[in-house]
């Protein structure tokens, strides 16, 4: 009767109705708020720019506010409910002791402009986390200002530019492999550089010859994820780095996949110069439904002087804020997503060196184990052993049954798992990108494999059921085309009226 461990079973509870919006729950004069009365003498204030009307916010009682958001929470899948093998996202379990740390009033209630003398604890948190991060990546120093991976990329590219300009050079091009995450090319453009693409070979790795051909004096650097988004470790990485360094370019490590090599291999030893890492992936800070994250950027010696600042620094009179000598400036309004850093430090300290290495081992082991259990309908995207994630193609299944990668993903939702990433990376047709992470048990791998194989079988016997999945979720597939064609982005915008349909 009971299902194997790890299969989420957030079964129907009660009531199938849609949740009203806050606006629909609102009634004039209802309120949740309370504030002490004004206890200073009230004075007539002769101020300009006062508003006449109250703003049209909803008016709800605390009781209804609680029920509303609790019911919304019940309409959300989450790591705490079950396995979430979303490739490239590292949806591992987020330890509760880190929640405890992030709620610590000694950190939570601190104003960012508290003088360093009175915020030594927070500066120490950043320095301790920085040291561990540098030890793991083989870098010298790191900044925590970037609020996410993409912000880290942009920061890294600005560092690249500062480096070249300091040497009187003005290259304009950054090399990006075709397996790269979309943020990489987008960041390149935003930083004022131009993207030059490099293709992968049939090993799923950057084609060394193509890279050689693409590399010239105009190349400011190369951005690379390793293992890459196919879950493949770039075997020629040392040689690739040498190629770039030979034209005085810099090699940037997109750390989204750092989880796979934690304590096993270091970007620094591979020849990388700039490394961002996603604390919300590798270091178990929760994703919050899409953030906050943190994308610290660590660099080798020769780039330290360009880092954004101010940076926490040890001085004779304690920890202090110091601006690096030739800093590119500021990239965040304060010190970055500090509480995320605190969570990551808590995690790093709990695991320590051996525990961090175990993360890499077991994330890879889980991926290999899962891959081995999948049936023939899930064709490996590339030969060779995978790291912490792998990409399979259901192109053959699609040709045979019409069932697409998206359908498989949706059918998995019905079976108590979150879906893998689909249609990414772009180089694999009908791709499913699966990253189990190390916090899932072998039993969960077995249940997940069984569910995927079951879906492949169902695709053959009853493709329509798979193509119309999911069937057991609060809503079925939303009409995304309609949403984009007729944007309803606030409750003030008129909803699409079916009578208007062509």
């Amino acid at each position: 009767m009971p299902e194997p461990a790890g299969r989420a079973s957030s079964a129907p509870l009660v009531g199938g109705s849609a949740e009203p919006t806050l606006r629909e729950l609102s009634a004039p004069g209802r309120r949740a708020w309370s504030l002490p009365d004004l206890d200073v003498p009230e004075r007539p204030l002769d101020l300009p720019e006062l508003s006449a009307e109250p703003v049209p916010l909803p008016e709800v009682a605390e009781r209804d506010l609680v029920a509303h958001f609790t019911r919304l929470a019940h309409r959300n899948f989450a790591v705490d409910l079950g396995a979430y093998p979303l490739g490239s996202c590292t949806m591992k379990y987020n330890p509760k002791v880190c929640d405890w740390a992030a709620e610590h009033p000694g950190f939570r209630d601190l104003h960012p402009q508290t003088p360093a003398e009175f915020s030594q604890g927070s500066l120490a948190v950043m320095l301790e986390a920085e040291e561990i991060l540098c030890a793991l990546t083989g870098m010298t120093r790191a900044t925590f200002q970037p609020a996410a991976g993409a912000a880290g990329e942009l920061t890294g590219l600005l560092l690249m530019r500062a480096y070249h300009e300091a040497r009187g050079r003005h290259p304009t091009t950054v090399l990006i492999p075709d397996t790269a995450h979309g943020t990489n090319p987008a960041s390149v453009t935003l930083s004022g550089y131009t993207v030059r693409h490099v293709a992968s070979d049939d090993r799923g790795m950057v084609d060394l010859e193509q890279l050689r051909a693409a590399t010239d004096d105009d190349v400011a650097g190369l951005m690379l994820t390793n293992p890459n988004t196919l879950g493949v470790f770039e075997h020629d990485i040392v040689e690739m780095a040498r190629l770039i360094h030979d034209v005085d370019g810099l090699v940037y490590y997109d750390g989204a996949n750092l989880n796979a090599i934690l304590g096993v291999a270091r970007p620094g030893d591979m020849g990388f110069d700039i490394v961002h890492s996603n604390l919300h992936k590798t270091f178990a800070t929760p994703h919050g439904g899409g953030g906050p994250g943190a994308g610290p950027v660590a660099v080798v010696d020769r780039l330290v002087e360009f880092l954004p600042g101010p940076m926490p620094t040890r001085t004779d009179s304690g920890l202090a804020w110091v601006m690096p000598e030739r800093s590119i400036g500021r990239v965040h309004g304060n010190h970055g997503n500090f509480l995320v850093v605190l969570r990551a430090l808590t995690y790093m300290l709990a695991l320590g060196g051996p525990g961090l290495r175990r993360v890499a081992e077991r994330s890879v082991l889980n991926a290999r184990y899962l891959a081995a259990m999948l049936g023939d309908d899930f064709r490996p995207g590339y030969p060779g052993p995978c790291m912490h994630e792998f990409v399979v193609s259901v192109a053959a299944l699609k040709r045979r049954t019409g069932v697409r990668a998206m359908d498989v993903a949706k059918a998995l939702l019905d079976r108590g798992f979150h879906a893998p990433t689909v249609y990414f990376p772009l180089v694999v047709e009908e791709a499913l990108m699966i990253e189990p992470t190390e916090t899932e048990s072998p039993e969960t791998m077995e249940a997940l494999a069984a569910a995927l194989n079951e879906i492949a079988a169902a695709a053959v016997t009853d493709p329509l059921v798979v193509q119309t999945a999911p069937h057991h979720t609060p809503v079925s597939r939303p009409d995304e085309a309609l949403a984009a064609r007729h944007p309803v982005l606030t409750w003030d915008m008129p909803a699409f009226d079916h009578r208007d349909a062509p």
Partner: protein, 442 residues
């Protein structure tokens, strides 16, 4: 500690299933040289209790209990327990960006409501689902204006938060933009002559707490074919005119006061709203309402063709992970406040700020830095070094404010003092009394 569930027996069994002997074999295919043999110098693992002791010890080196009169975007407003309780529900906290709408209706609807309420308080029709923080939102606003007008000059009031200006400067250097800063004259922006701008960026109230002239800024922008961009204080939007009503094209804010603790400045929240015209240039995630296959109302990420995962190097911004949970917090808090709570919060903050301003300007040598009208934050000049005074006040339990000298050469002894509805009359009186003593000693 260890958060992997694997037992030794599990590892052995799984390795065997994939044809390997030892965990090291998993990495046997890695090229030589990248797997360091030397010890990485990492600490040993710690038991949970020891981790907690360590974090406690670090926390005790912070003076988070100081009675807070610092602002500059991050404010010590009253954050009701119900807002935290709802925001910290693990279903919101431990989910990813809502790519699979069917199992993410919770966060999607919450973000739709957030967008709706941001529109309500800014008076602009469209908002995104969050950016990183206030200052980086300023940069995104500039990016929109530059793309929209195909111009490369940006006018920025010196009343805009110095950190926002610093971030814009960082990126302007890389992008070849020209930033023209316009001075404050007696506290308010004086718009001077300069090449026609892509945007006119100002802050309402400005960094000195002063209420700017909306009409001056907006007509300056529009008169020269640029966009009017306002940085606003979200907690004052129940009292002050909304940027949309004042004709602004883009409004952004540091959203921390909406539902988020100060947390040393991060995670913060970039609140961002634009006119309908600018919709397709909006950076970041946007949630839309639509219908599912069965015609039921449902929500999904939309207008994704602006985004990096689809458009890659042609995307309108590179944002992927944003500050969703902080936006959810803002949604809960805004609903908690409602129109009256927001108005009362603003009203009390302003009243209390003026009370304190009277108290401190009664201290010999303390004067307002300008004669302009202010809201809930104000700048004073002190008869002593503000850095020393802040330190001395901290010893007495107060975070006295933010010294202004580093950012305003004209105010070497300036101190920026912020007041929220949370500061009781007793606290205001104690602040003034202590400041008097500290200055007398200085």
């Amino acid at each position: 500690m260890d958060f992997t569930p694997h037992t030794e027996a599990d590892v052995t069994r799984m390795l065997a299933a994939v044809g390997l002997d030892t965990p090291e074999d998993l990495f046997a295919h890695l090229p030589a040289g990248v797997t360091p043999t030397a010890d990485l110098g990492l600490p040993a693992g710690m038991a949970e209790l020891d981790v907690m002791r360590h974090i406690d010890a670090l926390a005790s080196r912070n003076a988070a209990e100081l009675c807070c009169f610092a602002g500059g975007g991050i404010y010590d407003h009253f954050l009701p327990p119900v807002v935290r309780a709802l925001t910290l529900r693990p279903e919101f906290v431990t989910s990813y960006t809502p790519y699979q709408s069917e199992v993410a209706q919770g966060v999607l609807q919450a973000l739709f409501e957030y967008q709706s309420m941001v529109a309500a308080i800014t008076g602009l029709p469209v908002a995104n689902a969050s950016l990183y923080d206030g200052p980086t939102s300023g940069l995104e606003a500039v990016n929109i204006a530059v793309a929209h007008t195909a111009r490369s000059t940006v006018w920025v009031s010196r009343g805009v938060h110095p950190h926002t200006r610093a971030i814009i400067a960082t990126f302007a250097r890389a992008r070849g933009l020209e930033v023209v800063e316009h001075p404050l004259v007696d506290g308010r922006t004086h718009w001077e002559h300069a090449p026609d701008p892509a945007a006119v960026l100002f802050s309402q109230p400005n960094h000195l707490g002063v209420i700017e002239d909306y009409e001056a800024a907006v007509s300056t922008a529009h008169g020269r074919g640029g966009l009017a961009i306002a940085a606003v204080d979200p907690m004052l939007l129940g009292v002050l005119r909304r940027p949309g009503d004042a004709g602004c094209d883009i409004a952004f804010a540091e959203g921390q006061p909406l539902g988020n603790p100060m947390s040393f400045g991060g995670p913060a929240l970039g609140v961002f709203a634009v006119t309908r015209d600018l919709l397709r240039r909006l950076p970041g995630r946007i949630v839309g309402s639509t219908v599912d296959r069965d015609g039921r109302r449902s929500y999904t990420l939309t207008l994704r063709t602006r985004e990096q995962d689809i458009r890659r190097e042609k995307a309108s911004s590179n944002i992927c992970t944003n500050q969703t949970l902080n936006a959810v917090a803002a949604a809960v808090h805004l609903a908690w406040l409602g129109p009256e709570g927001l108005r009362e919060t603003g009203r009390q903050s302003i009243q209390r700020a003026h009370h304190l301003a009277d108290e401190v300007t009664g201290i010999p040598g303390v004067a307002l830095a300008n004669r302009a009208p202010f809201a809930r934050e104000f700048a004073v000049t002190l008869p002593a070094d503000p850095g020393h005074i802040v330190a001395a006040m901290a010893e007495r339990g107060f975070l006295a404010g933010i010294p202004l000298g580093d950012f305003y050469a004209g105010l070497p002894t300036g101190l920026l003092i912020a007041v929220t509805e949370k500061r009781s009359r007793d606290e205001l009186a104690a602040y003034a009394a202590n400041l008097r003593e500290v200055l007398a000693d200085a």
